[in-house]
């Protein structure tokens, strides 16, 4: 069964460093998303991406964040200068079509900023 794959599973980085979280969505999916979950809290939407551009973003997704689909298969989330409060589980999701279909989630990347 096809699945969304995220790498790495765990990333530890120093405050102020740049990190790139990688995702390979399901191959025939067209819509891509990043969500995050701070430990013990709810899952929060960050950004959605379609047709090589951001279609929606939340207030959390400020100038420190960017997304890219560099090669038609990977979908990346970059955090330019990490803060302690960026420590969270980051989930990538993809969707075949926007309407009437559910999003499939990857297994998540745990980001720890020290």
């Amino acid at each position: 069964e096809p699945e969304v794959t995220q790498t790495p599973s765990h990333q530890v980085t120093q405050m102020g460093q740049e990190v790139i979280l990688r995702c390979v969505p399901i191959s025939n999916h067209l819509y891509f998303y990043w969500y995050r979950q701070i430990l013990g809290q709810k899952v929060e939407f960050l950004v959605s991406f379609y047709n090589n551009e951001i279609s929606e973003k939340s207030e959390i997704f400020d100038d420190q964040f960017s997304v890219e689909r560099p090669d038609g298969s990977n979908f990346t989330l970059k955090i330019r200068s990490t803060k302690l409060e960026d420590s969270a589980m980051y989930f990538c999701a993809s969707n075949r079509g926007r309407m009437n279909t559910e999003a499939f989630f990857g297994q998540g990347t745990r980001l720890t900023v020290v």
Binding site: S55, E56, A93, E102
Partner: protein, 121 residues
């Protein structure tokens, strides 16, 4: 803005028994989707069941069923014949059906805070 509320942070159930997880939501939209996601200790988010708001019939997936009360904005999940593998965090989620941001709607999932289900042998 839409909100999703899961008022019970934790519940427990005996193996083979039935448990109901509650969820309420608030929206001014008439067309939307509701979901229950399961998050086991591995942390992956797994879709359990989905309900379209325009459908009156409650969704069912094997041991999982929902009680969707649109007027009351309630969306509870019933797990029958609970198994040890059902132990997980369960999240209720909402998504607009009114198109994406360009159409004035939203594609994002709005999640509740989650509920931890323990299954006792």
């Amino acid at each position: 803005a839409q909100t999703v509320t899961q008022s019970q942070p934790e519940m427990s159930v005996q193996e083979a028994e039935t448990v109901t997880l509650s969820c309420t939501y608030d929206t001014s939209e008439s067309d939307y989707y509701l979901f229950w996601y399961k998050q086991p200790p591995s942390r992956q988010m797994i879709l359990v069941i989905r309900q379209e708001a325009y459908k009156q019939q409650n969704a069912t997936e094997n041991r999982f069923s929902v009680n969707f009360q649109k007027a009351a904005k309630s969306f509870s999940l019933k797990i029958s014949d609970s198994q040890l593998g059902d132990a997980a965090m369960y999240f209720c989620a909402y998504r607009s059906a009114n198109g994406g941001a360009a159409q004035g709607g939203s594609e994002k999932l709005v999640f509740g805070k989650g509920m931890k289900l323990t299954v006792n042998p």
